[in-house]
């Protein structure tokens, strides 16, 4: 599927555009690979579905020949054009012959052909199986794009192919389509990168019986942090640490055990205990030893400070160590900067460029601001604002994400945010950007 297709994909439906093909005697389809249909960033077709509607024993429409052959790609060809190359002889690996009601499903990027029909008429129904990318607790490493030039070439080839199709230039359109497919196939990531699914990681965390190890693991990444907050882990740790605890540190466990934050309960119990131990030691003047228990400081050092991710209403300007991010969402430009500076750090034109065609992912499928204006030919431009009101929240979110992570290079968890507010803003948007 080319660059940008990393992650876990689950089947979500069939393309509702159903193609019924009829091959007359002598008709064929030369060796080719299928092109993916990518309606949006997280939805793409991966499998081709070919359904044969008749076979050699059909009463009304018997046929002969017309099998689907899977071929070994041959690298040697004299032909200069890609259409010409597809006419060369390939070695057949497997043959699937038509049979009424038989469906053949295969990956788009397998080389295959529709062999010439010897007799009768062949009917097939074909469509694609769509898959949706699911969110994983772990970040999937992005396959680095081979190069910006290559990606832009891919985008422009697909655009060109679409345009030539509209103009009815038969061979030109197929030629540029095939060339784009070649680039896209070559850029497909090798499936050599393995990441354990969250369920397995949780199983590993469950094996740790020292709370410190769990907390350390949680620090390594956001995904592991969220995983480490799983209540079940801390119930088990709590019970193994204090098997006979009956006080539960005065916490309300009553109503719904699922809504209780066991991490907090564990922490409270833990730090409460360490305080009572600390008191006599400090009085004796000895340097405090780090025993196997976690101190309250450890918790803050390890996990506590990173918990801050909340909406703060009211005065947020006073903290110079963590200056507020100031955002002004204007209809023409978004102004972003840090509190305490005289001028905004950046003026970002309120424009989002989206890829025109729907045949490939690219790392630059959505670009923002000046980049988008520069590449207005390759991308279609969208504006988040109309008459100075934000109307397209998705686009506004893209611009804000870009300004936080690429321009200001800050994490929104660490800084309060001040937004100039229009009375029509949705509350959900305010929470979204926090």
């Amino acid at each position: 599927m080319g660059s940008g297709a990393e992650g876990v994909w689950i089947p979500c439906g069939l393309n509702e555009c159903i193609k019924i093909g009829r091959y007359q005697t002598g008709c064929h389809f030369s060796p080719h690979i299928d092109g993916p249909w990518i309606p949006d960033e997280n939805c793409a077709s991966i499998l081709t579905l070919v359904l044969y509607l008749n076979d050699s024993e059909s009463e009304n429409f018997p046929l002969k020949g017309g099998a689907t052959n899977f071929l070994r790609p041959s690298s040697f060809s004299h032909a200069s054009s890609l259409i010409g190359q597809s006419q060369t002889l390939h070695e057949v690996i497997t043959t699937i012959s038509p049979k009424t009601g038989r469906a053949l499903l295969f990956r788009h990027d397998l080389l295959h052909e529709g062999a010439p029909l010897l007799e009768g008429r062949k009917f097939i129904l074909r469509t694609e199986v769509l898959f949706r990318r699911i969110k994983s607790a772990l970040k999937v490493p992005r396959h680095p794009p081979s190069s910006v030039d290559r990606t832009e070439k891919l985008v422009s080839l697909y655009n060109q192919s679409d345009a030539e199709y509209e103009q009815g230039k038969a061979s030109d359109f197929v030629e540029s389509y095939l060339e784009a497919l070649e680039i896209q196939k070559a850029d497909t990531a090798d499936a050599t990168c393995f990441i354990l699914p969250p369920s397995i990681l949780l199983e590993i965390l469950r094996k740790l019986n020292d709370a410190r190890d769990v907390v350390r693991t949680m620090l390594t990444s956001k995904g592991l942090y969220r995983l480490g907050r799983t209540g079940e882990l801390w119930v088990n740790l709590f019970l193994s640490q204090w098997p006979y605890a009956d006080d539960l540190a005065g916490t309300p466990v009553a109503d719904n055990p699922l809504t209780v934050d066991w991490f907090k309960i564990f922490k409270k119990k833990f730090t409460g205990q360490s305080e009572s131990r600390r008191a006599p030691k400090s009085r004796s003047g000895r340097k405090e030893k780090r025993d196997w228990l976690l101190k309250e400081d450890d918790f803050y050092l390890l996990a506590g400070r990173r918990l801050a991710n909340r909406v703060t209403w009211g005065d947020v300007g006073g903290d110079s160590a963590r200056p507020a991010i100031v955002v002004d969402c204007g209809g023409h430009t978004f102004k972003v900067g840090m509190a305490g500076q005289e001028r905004p750090t950046a003026f970002i034109p309120a424009v989002v460029g989206r890829q025109r065609h729907m045949h490939s992912f690219s790392p630059y499928s959505k670009i923002v601001g000046e980049e988008a204006l520069k590449r207005a030919g390759l991308y279609s431009l969208h504006y988040p604002c109309e008459n100075d009101d934000i109307t397209n929240w998705d686009n506004a979110e893209l611009i804000l994400q870009h300004s936080f992570s690429n321009v200001l290079k800050v994490t929104t968890e660490d800084h309060p945010i001040i937004v100039t507010e229009n009375s029509l803003y949705q509350v959900s948007f305010i929470f979204l950007i926090c």
Partner: protein, 142 residues
């Protein structure tokens, strides 16, 4: 290939879909379908423990009557020749495009038990599909 190129509404024709396909509301209504894997040499290098399926065949996805229904309907609606669109030496067949969400939905529900997730992080630990549950041997008695 190129099926997705240049969608414009006027190209689509309305055809009837088999009533038995649209009327099904559970897996129990669908015909008996069996799956066969097509063995192909690997094109990518993956972990030797697990090779994700690249191609497979489902026998009996549509019944004979449903297939015949589609042939008759498409003949009635009329096919469009691809001669002007694709070079003849590359591809020569007739085609009919139709849009139908209910039919796609019904077909999808027939093939869903045979599909499995695809992706980078599932290669080491392939999840069981519904069909592997169905074909797994019964549990030993207690």
């Amino acid at each position: 290939m190129a099926s997705a190129v240049g969608h414009s509404k006027s190209k689509f024709k309305d055809i009837q879909h088999p009533p038995s396909l649209l009327a099904q509301d559970s897996l129990l209504d669908s015909p008996v379908i069996s799956r066969k894997d097509v063995h192909l040499p690997r094109q990518q290098t993956v972990h030797p423990g697990f090779t994700p399926p690249e191609a497979f065949v489902l026998e009996g996805l549509l019944t004979n009557e449903e297939c015949e229904f589609y042939i008759k309907e498409s003949e009635k609606a009329g096919m469009e020749s691809l001669e002007g669109i694709f070079p003849k030496e590359y591809r020569s067949n007739d085609r009919l495009l139709t849009l139908s969400i209910p039919a796609a939905h019904a077909l999808f529900h027939r093939i869903l038990p045979f599909l499995s997730p695809i992706g980078t992080s599932l290669l080491l630990f392939p999840p069981p599909t519904i069909s592997s549950f169905l074909s797994s041997p019964p549990l030993p008695p207690l």
